[in-house]
């Protein structure tokens, strides 16, 4: 019997050792990847504090440190762009979340004739790149007077308009919540909207947060549509478009480090959001498949 115990013990040790080895390899690889990943961010952060030269230089760590780039940033149109971006992203996040969640609930719980055709139609529609619609969108928005200086409402309209198509993840999650909960609540006297608000959403916190985050992130970092619709008018630009203009041949020499400072300021709110909510975000991405 004691012999058995010894062999079992050896086997156990072997298992443990191989697990330790596997884990250390994984962590090593992940650490290398994250260092490579972080290099550009660190470079931008360091450049933004460089005072001695506003152009690109051949070294990374500044010789003279200071906040000059940040103070100068606020004398340009940058605050305007920042506010534009924030307003667009915030309003889009709110509207898109409401639309996506209502859409998902409807497709998950209601049975109507065109439900399946509608879902496949949206799936096929989603396969076309959004860029295809750019010219016609510009045309329509221009006729409505929502381009250039009025690009902010125009952009919100563009971002929110197609948001119902992003229902997949949340519908998948709602599908895992037993229907009998809806039914119990409806018998208890709740309307469909009250069911969504009081039963489904509290049970879907990760998905709600995921939806808000992705809805906020899209417009926050968008460049193509924003550039097209603001069309060279500084008042209608978002940060991505505005900052990118500073990389032009004639501006880059004086504004490169300011560009870096702007980049850091753009990254901060998103980074903070992610750090606070990353637990939910991960749950949300994987949540559709696993019962909540």
């Amino acid at each position: 019997m004691s012999e058995n115990n010894i062999t079992a013990g050896k086997r156990h040790m072997g298992l443990k050792a191989s697990r330790v080895l596997a884990n250390s390899t994984i962590y090593l690889v992940l650490s290398v990847i994250s260092v490579i990943w972080l290099i550009p961010f660190v470079c931008i952060l360091l450049q933004s504090f460089r005072v001695e030269s506003t152009y690109q230089v051949g070294y990374v760590v500044p010789q003279q440190w200071g906040l000059d780039n940040y103070t100068k940033l606020f004398q340009t149109d940058f605050p305007r762009w920042y506010v534009n971006t924030f307003v667009i992203a915030l309003i889009t996040a709110i509207l898109q979340t409401v639309i996506v969640l209502c859409m998902s609930y409807t497709l998950s719980r209601f049975r109507f004739k065109m439900r399946k055709p509608l879902m496949s139609f949206m799936l096929i529609l989603g396969m076309f790149p959004g860029m295809l619609s750019m010219i016609i969108l510009y045309r329509v928005l221009k006729d409505l007077g929502l381009t250039q200086a009025n690009a902010v409402p125009g952009l919100i309209l563009v971002y929110v308009a197609s948001s119902g198509m992003g229902y997949y993840v949340s519908k998948g999650f709602f599908d895992t919540i037993p229907k009998s909960l809806d039914e119990a609540a409806r018998v208890d006297g709740a309307t469909r909207f009250q069911v969504l608000k009081k039963i489904i959403l509290p049970l879907s916190k990760p998905i709600v947060i995921y939806t808000v985050l992705t809805a906020f992130m899209g417009p926050w970092g968008d460049y193509v549509f924003a550039r097209y619709i603001s069309f060279g008018t500084s008042a209608g630009m978002n940060v991505a478009v505005g900052l990118y203009n500073w990389l032009n041949k004639d501006q880059i020499a004086t504004r490169y480090t300011m560009f870096c400072a702007g980049g850091v300021l753009v990254a901060i709110p998103v980074a903070v959001l992610f750090m606070c909510l990353q637990r939910y975000y991960v749950e949300g991405v994987t949540g559709g498949a696993v019962k909540g």
Binding site: P178, S180, E183, A184, A185, R186, D188, G189, A190, Q194
Partner: protein, 376 residues
């Protein structure tokens, strides 16, 4: 407290499958009606149509004289208990029970009173602050009942509320539902696939099969006067034995001739057959396991058979036997009637002699499967 009336209620699904055919039923105020039948017979669908959770394809549902076909569940003034409890997992027991009252915008102190009262009746006071996942199955079911109770609605619907509980707890909760019914004194509609639940709980039982009502009656009626073979087999456990045999009418007396024996039909059954004018013919004979008795080889009407399985139930034995032609029958024998030698002899392959009691036989048409006496 209300009557419920279903007139020609029909459910046809989008794929043209008909789940419920022309369902007609009048449920009286304060009556306890049980829908019973095998899975897929349409009993739950019918209840869900009453609740408003399922569209009604045809006919009308009336609650308290008002047609509710187009009313939302919340406007029908019903309460419902679900098979899987359907408790809101993110709310405490208290909030679960209070949910419907809060939707009604009832003042909090009134809610408190009602919830604590219900909790006391159901014995769940100490769990009020817990979340449903911290409760056992029986406790969850009590919460679900509590949630329905506080609504004080006109009709109380229960959809297989005991199916998820283990056998012992099920018996206990069944008794509690009977008590609850006396306390609430309202109209109950109860769905189950378990004939024991149906028999013990219902004032009236509605037996359903493939979307049709097979029979409506009190537990005693459906047990003693099954309208057809389906009801006869479905009600009663173990199920009724059926065998094709000759019914002979001679000299003013009826005889059945199963497996070469000749047994006289006696009592009210013989009178009823005579009144209906049934002559000699082929019938499907139904005999309940408890109406078969063991007898001696020498008895005139003894049917020889061999024992296959002996199920010891404690107070009685369920003997699965087969006759010379291979027909399988189930016999229920009270243990108390057997000597210890007899009990020991009940082993595989043992030779037994059985006979049927003449006054409790059932006769069905071999084609239509309808009861020759109560079929219409």
């Amino acid at each position: 407290m209300a009557s419920v009336k279903l007139t020609d209620v029909k459910k046809v699904y989008d794929n043209n499958v008909t789940a419920v055919h022309d369902f007609n039923l009048d449920i009286k105020d304060k009556e306890f009606v049980v829908f019973v039948g095998p899975s897929g017979c349409g009993k739950s669908t019918t209840m869900r149509m009453i609740a408003g959770l399922e569209d009604i394809s045809g006919g009308t549902v009336e609650i308290d004289g008002v047609v509710v076909n187009d009313l939302q569940p919340k406007d029908r003034d019903i309460a419902m208990v679900f098979q899987n409890y359907a408790l809101y997992p993110h709310m405490t027991v208290y909030d679960n029970i209070a949910f419907s009252l809060r939707l009604k915008k009832m003042p909090e102190d009134e809610i408190y009173e009602k919830v604590t009262n219900a909790a006391e009746v159901l014995g769940i006071t100490e769990y009020l602050t817990r979340k449903p996942r911290a409760l056992s199955g029986g406790q969850r079911q009590r919460v679900a009942i509590g949630r329905a109770m506080v609504r004080e609605s006109k009709v109380f619907l229960m959809d297989e509320p005991l199916s998820n509980l283990d056998a012992k707890l099920r018996n206990q909760m069944r008794a509690e539902i009977i008590l609850l019914r006396q306390k609430l004194n309202t109209t109950f509609i109860y769905v189950t696939h378990d004939q024991t639940e149906a028999m013990t709980l219902g004032d009236r039982i509605v037996i359903m099969h493939d979307g049709y009502i097979e029979q409506v009656g009190t537990p005693m009626e459906v047990f003693e006067m099954p309208r057809n073979v389906f009801v006869a087999e479905f009600i009663g456990a173990p199920k009724m034995n059926l065998m094709e045999t000759e019914l002979e009418y001679s000299g003013g007396k009826y005889y059945v001739k199963p497996f070469g024996a000749k047994i006289e039909v006696t009592g009210s059954k013989a009178e009823e057959l005579q009144r209906k004018g049934v002559g000699s013919r082929k019938v499907l004979l139904g005999v309940r396991p408890e109406h078969i008795t063991l007898t001696d080889a020498s008895a005139a009407d003894a049917i020889p058979c061999k024992l296959e399985v002996n199920e010891m139930m404690g107070s009685e034995l369920h003997l699965h036997v087969y006759t010379a032609d291979g027909t399988r029958l189930i016999v229920r024998v009270p243990t108390i009637n057997l000597s210890s030698e007899q009990r020991k002899a009940m082993v595989y392959g043992a030779q037994l002699y059985i006979t049927f009691e003449g006054k409790v036989m059932h006769f069905f048409d071999t084609e239509t499967q309808k009861n020759l006496i109560y079929g219409e």
